[in-house]
């Protein structure tokens, strides 16, 4: 879960140097969307995924064109402030509209799990994993194979040079942003399936996603996903060995360790010289 949200963050940060701290809040928005669609129409959450995709892509486009485009020109700090403001707005709005009580989804397969050897694997977690990997794969293909994907990669390195080639910075940024938000939406669907959640749940996710991005190396999209998985594993192991309450603390400690020992991330590399 951290992984998917992390990729979105990594993309947005890598291309536009915007720390989109509202990523977690958007994710929860996605979770609520899933919850309500499921509760009101009984459409399976996994189909919600397909529904949420265009919705969140569009939302991302609106966010960028409406909010961040103007602000991004001014500087990094206003962008962070804007993201923070957006986060607070979303959280409180959701709280107001849908009450702060936790929600959870129970489907026919929520409790389903199966054993592989001596390990119990929950069905939903497996599905989340598959979704993560697929989402990453799709983003990867987009970035590697399509012209616009290459434009995004180029522009994230040198926006000015891209403009000189005829690539509109505004369009590239809005595409990147949309994908980032769409990924948050997907992460949200995944969250709804797995945990109970409430409007404020997102903040911790934003933090963890940022940590995952750091683990993977800034700008490295695949790394962000792996970072997310790594973080998830660290947490699980930690809560198993030391006890649940320590899980968050362990994650943050791991982050500190990372910063001290290998700040560029596990897959990070220094930029090549042109």
């Amino acid at each position: 879960m951290y992984g998917i949200a992390a990729i979105g963050l990594s993309l947005i940060f890598g291309s536009m140097q915007i720390i989109f701290i509202a990523q977690g809040a958007v994710m929860i928005l996605g979770a609520y969307f899933t919850y309500w669609v499921f509760t009101l129409t009984s459409i399976d959450p996994f189909f919600c995924l397909l529904l949420s995709l265009p919705l969140f892509l569009g939302l991302g486009w609106i966010f960028y064109t409406g909010l961040f485009y103007k602000v991004a020109r001014v500087g990094k700090n206003p962008s962070l402030l804007l993201a923070f403001g957006l986060m607070v707005l979303l959280e409180n709005l959701m709280s107001l509209v849908w009450t702060p009580n936790p929600r959870a989804i129970n489907t026919s397969y929520t409790a389903m799990s199966f054993s592989v050897g001596s390990i119990q694997i929950s069905f939903t977690r497996l599905m989340v994993f598959i979704i993560s990997v697929t989402a990453t794969g799709l983003v990867f293909v987009f970035m590697k194979k399509t012209l616009w994907g290459k434009a995004v990669r180029g522009a994230s390195e040198d926006m000015g040079a891209a403009a000189l080639l005829g690539i509109s910075p505004r369009r590239v940024s809005s595409i990147t942003f949309s994908i980032g938000i769409a990924l948050a939406g997907i992460a949200g669907v995944a969250t709804a399936i797995t945990y109970p959640f409430d409007p404020y749940f997102g903040f911790v996710f934003s933090l963890k996603a940022l940590i995952a991005v750091a683990f993977g190396g800034i700008g490295n999209v695949g790394g962000a996903l792996l970072g997310g998985i790594l973080l998830g594993v660290i947490e699980s192991v930690a809560s198993y060995v030391i006890g649940g309450g320590w899980a968050d603390g362990i994650s943050y400690a791991a982050f500190l360790l990372l910063l001290m020992l290998r700040p560029q991330g596990i897959f990070g590399s220094s930029a090549a010289k042109t």
Partner: protein, 246 residues
């Protein structure tokens, strides 16, 4: 005002242009023009305002005063994407390649404008024949190329947009003399094939050998201009560029 006679319609006309960065004036009342299918040089030292002037032409910066005409129509208020679409390719100072992308990907992005995409294969082949060193390196990252190869790639990338006017900002910077010689041969060849070239350089000697006309920019002002043969014999020119000729 330019002292040069205009034969027919020049491809590019810069008229009475001032460019400011905040309160600082980088370009002061500059006028010049570029005739079709010629190589026109703009020389000057660091900080003379050459790059600013080029950025104004390609739409990155807007002039505070004056206008710029391309094929007779004004470029005012156009953004860089629109300028490229009109047929101007600006290869910036320092190359500014996408170092994390491969050579091929850089070239693909060069052909980004819709108008140029149908001709991609053709443009690619032409680039390969002009710069054979790139052929074997298509899938290498641009950042791993040598300085000379990177400059070739930068120019090749600019050519992918099938420009009518190619603007080169200090292509010889940081390159060994042998490579620079090759580069200038290629620039001449491109011109012979029909591309109009605006060449900005500090390397005065070799520039004077291929340009048909040159302008000298000093602290934002056009102080001298003329045909290279005349300029080289001009005392003021020699004074300014003693170190750069020969």
């Amino acid at each position: 005002m330019s002292l040069r006679l205009t034969l027919g319609n020049p491809l590019l006309e810069v008229i009475d242009v001032d460019v400011f960065y905040g309160d600082a004036q980088a370009v002061n009342n500059v006028s010049f023009h570029v005739d079709r299918q010629k190589i026109v040089a703009l020389v000057g030292a660091n900080g003379a305002g050459k790059s600013t002037l080029l950025n104004t032409i390609s739409g990155i910066v807007q002039p505070g005063r004056g206008k710029i005409l391309f094929k007779g129509s004004p470029l005012t208020n156009l953004n860089p994407e629109e300028v490229v679409a009109l047929g101007i390719s600006h290869v910036p100072e320092g190359r500014r390649l996408f170092s994390r992308l491969t050579v091929l990907e850089n070239l693909e992005l060069g052909a980004f404008p819709k108008r140029t995409r149908p001709y991609f294969n053709e443009s690619l082949e032409r680039a390969m024949s002009l710069f054979p060193a790139l052929k074997n390196r298509l899938h290498q990252s641009a950042g791993s190329l040598s300085g000379g190869e990177q400059q070739m790639l930068a120019i090749a990338r600019g050519l992918m947009a099938k420009p009518v006017l190619l603007i080169l900002d200090e292509p010889s910077l940081g390159l060994a003399p042998v490579i620079v010689k090759l580069l200038f041969e290629i620039i001449q060849f491109l011109n012979q094939e029909g591309t109009t070239i605006l060449l900005v350089e500090q390397n005065v000697h070799q520039t004077m050998e291929i340009a048909s006309y040159a302008y000298v920019l000093q602290t934002g002002k056009l102080n001298l201009e003329g045909q290279p043969d005349d300029l080289i014999r001009n005392a003021d020119f020699q004074r300014a560029y003693m170190g750069m000729i020969g």
